[in-house]
Structures are given as C-alpha cells and as structure tokens.
C-alpha cells in the first residue's frame, strides 16, 4: 500500500465492479473514494469524507483493478480514520462488536429468537438505525464455545486449529461441529481453542481499537499452536481474509505474517491432503443441482474456488458457479438501516441470478451470504462443508 493510488490509470474497471455504486447514487464509487480522493488526504488533517462509510468493503474493486491499486484498502484506511475522528452511531458500535452481541444473543438465545421477529422489537431496532428487512439471525445456545474442543488422534501427522468465526459460533454451531468431524474423519487432529471475533466487523465499522484488541488476542492463541506444528483452518471466507490480509496488513498484529502464511481455507486444506496423498477419500454420488454463490471475500483471497474444485470429484453433482453478484449484506453492512435499501436491492439481484439456474439448493461459504440469499431466494442455503460431509458420509455427532 502507501502509494498504490499513484498507479491508478482511471480505467473505471473498479467502478464497473462496485455493487454499492451500481445501486446507491450517493456513493461516488471506488475510484473517487479511493485513489482520486487519496491525493487530497493527509494524516495531518481530519477525515471529512463521510461517504467512505457507504463502502461495504466487499473488495470487488481490489480484485478487478488490473493495476493493483487496491481501492478498497485505501477506503478501509479512510473508514478507520473517519471512525476515529467522528461520533459513531449506535449500529456502528454495536456491530463493531458482533462478538459481544453474539455472546449475549447466544446466552439469551431462547428469548432473543422469540423477540426479534416481533413488530414491536423491529420498530425499536429501526429507531436505533438497524434494518429489519431480512430476519435477524437466530442465535444458538449451544455455541461453538460450548462444544467439544478437540477431535482426532493426538499423534496424527496433520494437526489443525480451527478458526470458526462468529457466525458459526453463535448462529450455526452445527456447521462448525460438522467441520470438526469432517477433518477428524480424514485423519486430522482438530483443536478448537477459545477464540474471539476475527476483528473484521470492528474494522468495517471504523473501530480500529477493538479490531486490534480482538486480533491480538487471536494471534497469541493461533501463533502458539502454529509453533507447535499446527496449521490454521477457517471456513468463513471473511475471517480468512482478515487473518491472512488484515492481521499482517492494516492491523499490524505481532505474528501476523506467521499466521497469514500458515492459514488455510478448509477446502484448500482438504485438496492439499489429497494432493500430498495423505488421504484418498471416496466421494459418494450426490444427485443435486447446486447454485454456488461465490462470496466476495473468497474472491478477494485470490486462491481460486477450492470448494468448487473438490465438488468436481463428486459424481452426479451439478454445480453452477455465480461470482458476479455481491449478496449485499456484507457482514453487518446490510443490517444498518441506512444501507437497508442498497442491501435489499443487491440481495434480490443476486437471488434472481440464483433462481435463474433453478437449483435444488444454493450454497455459499459465507454466513452472511447464506442468510441474505436464503431469505431472498427462498431456496435452502447450505455451507460447502455440509455437502462434502454428505458425500463423504460423515455423520453428525451432536455436540
């Protein structure tokens, strides 16, 4: 970073790829918010570009830019600068801390799940700037924090520490337990230490301090395992991006580089086990038609689409890759009332593309995509690991 903005040739490719720019006329787009405005910014002056907050940090502009300008990185820096210098409205503070929000939600899950769909509660949420155009996620009492913390032989040659992320932890711990069981069935020792939010929501909500606090805490835990010969595995692509890009990058976490270099996407990790010859799994046929919505942050990782490569090996599976749409929820972005309309428009566009395929199920690696697009398309939304478990016949072991 630093002077990347100087490389911009103003080709507008990033603008053409920006989902927010497409539907929200108030947002000047990645070129103007990023490299163009950057020329007039100075660390000695306060940040005044209020509209940088309209960027959802989907990072589609970074992926598209042929000149490695990374407009989203430039905007992210400005978002945190803006956040430092300005009052952050309630939703920004709340969602910066999805971890505590989740912890609370999960603790009082039975109550909160009944309350949030109520009209009265929705009104209250709206008053505080929180959008209720899609159902609020359901919280689970049996979060990952309350599940078995290891599985697989202790002496196994392959050892991983699983970074599950907030969505799995509080909303879909069943997916997390499934991943644990899947890895164990492949002869991998899995440990699931206590961990906190990756920090990405805090960063996106302009709260650098909280983001750093979370990141440091995780880094200490993960680096400890890496030193003992473990590798880090994630399924949530946004957590993955945060661990590999932001920890050594904008968050400047000690050991950030070490974590970044030892962290794998789950499917990438399984592919590598196969390539090394460590496992030779038999994939049972699945006769399904799947619309695979690629999360923006999987694209941003720049590792290709490993789950899709695994699915090529499952007989009978028909996978349609959809990579041109952002689901619009972008973590907590779409839960803010002021972004509600943008988010809903993008969500229904992406759902339309999914429905055009006529799939039995839709699939995405990202919790936010699954929530948003499951809702807008009315089609069951699964995690790739769930499909994989079905084909590899890994049964659910409960907690």
């Amino acid at each position: 970073m630093g002077f990347d903005f100087q490389h911009c040739i103003r080709c507008t490719v990033c603008v053409a790829n920006c989902p927010v720019f497409k539907v929200d006329p108030a947002f000047p787009g990645p070129k103007q918010s990023g490299p163009d405005a950057e020329r007039f910014r100075s660390d000695d002056e306060a940040s005044i570009d209020r509209w940088v907050r309209l960027c959802s940090q989907c990072k589609r502009c970074d992926v598209a830019c042929p000149y490695s300008v990374h407009p989203a990185q430039i905007i992210l820096r400005e978002q945190t600068r803006y956040g430092e210098g300005h009052f952050r409205p309630l939703p920004y503070r709340l969602f910066a801390n999805t971890y505590w929000l989740g912890a609370l939600g999960s603790l009082i899950a039975p109550v909160i799940n009944i309350l949030t769909p109520r009209t009265f509660v929705k009104r209250v949420l709206n008053v505080f700037g929180i959008s209720t155009s899609i159902p609020f996620p359901q919280y689970r009492f049996h979060s990952m924090n309350r599940s078995w913390r290891w599985k697989g032989r202790r002496r196994s040659r392959k050892k991983v520490v699983f970074f599950y992320g907030c969505f799995i932890n509080y909303n879909r711990p069943d997916i997390g337990r499934g991943v644990r069981d899947l890895l164990a069935s492949l002869g991998v020792r899995v440990v699931i230490p206590r961990q906190v939010c990756c920090g990405l929501p805090a960063l996106g909500n302009g709260d650098m301090e909280t983001a750093r606090k979370f990141a440091r805490k995780n880094a200490r835990i993960l680096a400890g395992y890496i030193d003992k010969g473990y590798e880090v595995v994630y399924t949530c692509t946004s957590c993955g991006l945060s661990l590999t890009q932001d920890y050594p990058g904008i968050l400047g976490v000690p050991d950030g580089k070490k974590i970044s270099e030892n962290t794998y996407n789950l499917h990438e990790y399984i592919l590598e086990l196969m390539e090394e010859g460590y496992i030779e799994p038999t994939f049972e046929p699945l006769h399904r038609k799947i619309a695979y919505h690629i999360p923006c942050h999987l694209r941003a990782l720049g590792i290709g689409y490993p789950a899709a490569r695994l699915f090529e090996k499952i007989p009978g599976l028909e996978v349609h890759i959809l990579e041109d749409n952002c689901c619009g929820l972008a973590g907590s972005y779409g839960f803010k009332k002021k972004h509600g309309e943008t988010s809903a428009k993008l969500g229904s566009d992406a759902a339309r593309a999914i429905k055009a395929i006529g799939p039995d199920i839709m699939m995405s690696d990202c919790g936010a995509c699954k929530m948003q697009l499951g809702y807008f398309s009315g089609i069951p939304a699964l995690d790739p690991s769930e499909i994989l478990r079905q084909s590899l016949k890994v049964t659910d072991s409960g907690t």
């Binding site: 042929p66 962290t263 794998y264 590792i303 290709g304 490569r309």
Partner: protein
C-alpha cells in the same frame, strides 16, 4: 489425485480466455490466472480484425511478414472468430459480422468506426445516410452529447430521458428492472418519433442486454441500436462477462485478482506458478503454460528507460531499437516503433531464444502485433489465443 492442470493460462484477456475456451471445448482441464480484469472491459466491445480496407481477412496478406496473423493463417483466423461468435450466441449476446467485410459502427462523436464483428445491439451497417436518425440520450449522463451526432447528420433529432441516475453503470442497472423498462418504452412511444432509426448510448442493461434490446425494439416498432460510450463501457463489460461465464460453464477454474509471485522450473520445463495470494502463496501446477498477459497497458510487458522486460517468466523481449526511435514526434500518428516490442514466437507459438519447452505465448504481448497501428486488437487476441491453444493441445 494431484491438481495438475493440462494447461495453465496466465492472463484473463481476450486471448487467454479464448485459449481457455478452445482447450476446455476439447476436454482439457484448464486454469486461468489473472491479476485483474482485462483491457476488453474498457473497449467498445467490437471485434476489430483489421480496420483498414473493406475485406479484413484478405487484408492480412498485405501485413508485414513478421505479423503474428501470418502464423495463424486465414482459415484458422476465420475458425477462431466462428468459435467466438458461437460462444457469445450461446450466452445470449450474439455478434453479427463477416470476416470478409468490415462494417461501420456509429460512435458518440457522430463519426463511424470500422470494425469486423459487432454486438447485435450495435448493428447499424445497413444505415442509409438519407434516413432519419433519432438519438435518445439521458439527462446529465456524462460524456454523451447527442448534438455531436445530430450536427453531423442533416436529417436527425434527439430527445432526453431522465432516468434518475447519471452514470452509465447506474442507468444500465435501471434497465434491468422491469417497471423502469416499461416506463421508458411508453415514454419513447409518446414521443412520436418520425420513421427512421433510433439510437441510444450503450446502457441497455449490464447483463440482460438481449432481452432489454428486443423489448425496446418491439416497443418502438423498429430496430434500435446502441452507440458505444467511454469507459465504463457496458458492451466491453458484457463481452468480458459473457466469455468468463462461458469458461465457468465449461469447467475452467479461475484464479482472479492476484498476479504471479514465483515460477517453479524443473530442467527445461515449467512445473508450477504460485500466486501472490493473501497469506500463503497458492500453487498452480500444469503440464503446459500459456502466457497471455497483454502488452504494456496490462503489465505483461514493462519498459524501463532503455529496455523492455516480460514480467512473468523474464522471457527475452524484442526491442525495436534504442529509446530515441521508440516514439514518433506526432503522438497521434499510427505506428510508434515501440508497438513492435514483445515476445517473438515460432510457428507453434513457443517463445524463441529460450530453453523452456512447455510455454506458449499469445495475444497483444506478441512482438510485431502493432495493435494500434493496424487496429486488430480483439481479432488478433482471439486468433492467436485459439492458435496457441491448438498448438499446445497436441502436447498435453
């Protein structure tokens, strides 16, 4: 079980994508790696084969002997364009045109540009200059002024529609929404436009262009046509999007957004490349590699004060002469010498003067292609892309 690709293509421009399409069609397992979106995104979407003269395919015979077109040959060039047209038709974005006849496209300056294949939505070649032409433009849309066009035609008029947004991408997005489209069509019907043609800037949807185009045409009771705009250019983006979608459907694996970090060689063969992914470098292994990273504009070639380098494999690059000879005094004159710079290849598209055995090169990175001078951009990329694919298809 190893994820070895038959062919790994570096560069996701017109040439890389067409090479991938040709290989995937023949059942090869292909990966395309691209640092970013290609030049065709900001092009008009029209396929130039050789813009001067009436018959572009015949015209190729008169190009200098070392022009890459000669390595492909007339028949193979025609076949590669057939393949391209087939893919775009399947994707619902048909192209019209004939390799033996250049056709005109109206530009936003009101002049005509000569090209070979054009998106169906831009077809205007049968226009007869006495015909009435009516331009519809959009309120406050940047870089599109109907007066430029109407001032050049004696029999012309224009109207302005207010779509509520002012950017090309914003307007295109609106056209994908049914109530907006219907409101627009009834507005046009209310204008009572005289007999003749209706022209619009190219904003008829980002993706659903075929549907939008046919519905407006039906609503207006006549064929309308689009005029390409400055970037962001919807026809360029549709071209890119259409090809990319076709590749995904054919099972090609895409690795987008990161450049090449390092190259692994074993003897005279390239074994794998690694990507500058976030975190660990992702490794992509292949039996053969195709280099399609484009020319200076895309970073396939890089110039320093006195030399030109190829950025991925450090292949020897042809340099037309000392720096003083690189540029013409007249900036706008066609044919700066530096345009000849690039990678020289043998008849099977393998780079000359290197030991590497499993590498092929195609597209605008090729030496002597002089894309700007001959205005042969996409055509040369398509023809050499498919030819390189065929050349390496035998090896893997």
């Amino acid at each position: 079980m190893n994820a070895i690709y038959d062919v790994v293509i570096i560069g996701g421009g017109m040439s890389g994508m067409m090479a991938a399409a040709a290989l995937a069609k023949n059942g090869r397992k292909v990966a395309v790696i691209s640092k970013g979106d290609p030049v065709c995104c900001f092009s008009t979407g029209c396929i130039d084969l050789l813009a001067d003269g009436d018959d572009p395919l015949k015209g190729i015979a008169s190009l200098p002997d070392n022009h890459p077109y000669h390595l492909v040959g007339e028949d193979a060039i025609a076949h590669s364009l057939d393949l391209f047209q087939g893919i775009m038709s399947e994707g619902g974005m048909p192209y019209v045109g004939d390799v033996h006849a250049n056709r005109r496209v109206l530009t936003s300056l009101g002049r005509c540009k000569s090209t070979c294949l054009v998106p169906e939505t831009m077809e205007f070649s049968d226009f007869d200059s006495d015909e009435y032409i009516h331009v519809i433009s959009f309120y406050k849309m940047k870089d599109f002024y109907p007066q430029y066009i109407t001032s050049r035609y004696t029999n012309a008029g224009y109207s302005v529609f207010d779509p509520g947004v002012i950017t090309t991408a914003g307007i295109a997005e609106k056209f994908e929404n049914r109530p907006f489209l219907e409101a627009f069509i009834s507005w046009v019907q209310g204008l009572d436009i005289p007999e003749g043609r209706i022209a619009m800037p190219a904003v008829l949807g980002r993706n659903l262009v075929g549907d939008v185009y046919h519905q407006i045409s039906a609503g207006c009771g006549r064929k309308i046509f689009e005029i390409p705009t400055l970037p962001p250019s919807m026809p360029g983006l549709r071209l890119f999007g259409g090809l990319k979608k076709a590749l995904l459907q054919k099972g090609v694996n895409l690795y987008w957004g990161k450049g090449i970090y390092s190259v692994e060689k074993l003897g005279n063969r390239i074994e794998a490349v690694t990507l500058a992914s976030s975190g660990r470098a992702t490794r992509v292994e292949g039996r053969a590699f195709i280099l399609a990273t484009g020319s200076f504009v895309s970073g396939g070639l890089q110039a320093s004060m006195d030399t030109v380098t190829e950025t991925v494999f450090d292949l020897p690059a042809y340099l037309p002469g000392a720096r003083e000879t690189w540029f013409n005094d007249d900036f706008f004159a066609a044919g700066h010498e530096i345009e000849k710079a690039g990678i020289r290849v043998d008849s099977s598209f393998r780079p000359v003067d290197t030991e590497i055995e499993n590498l092929y090169v195609c597209g605008s990175i090729l030496a002597f292609s002089e894309v700007m001078k001959y205005r042969c951009g996409h055509g040369m990329a398509i023809a050499t892309g498919v030819a390189a694919a065929n050349a390496c298809g035998g090896l893997v």
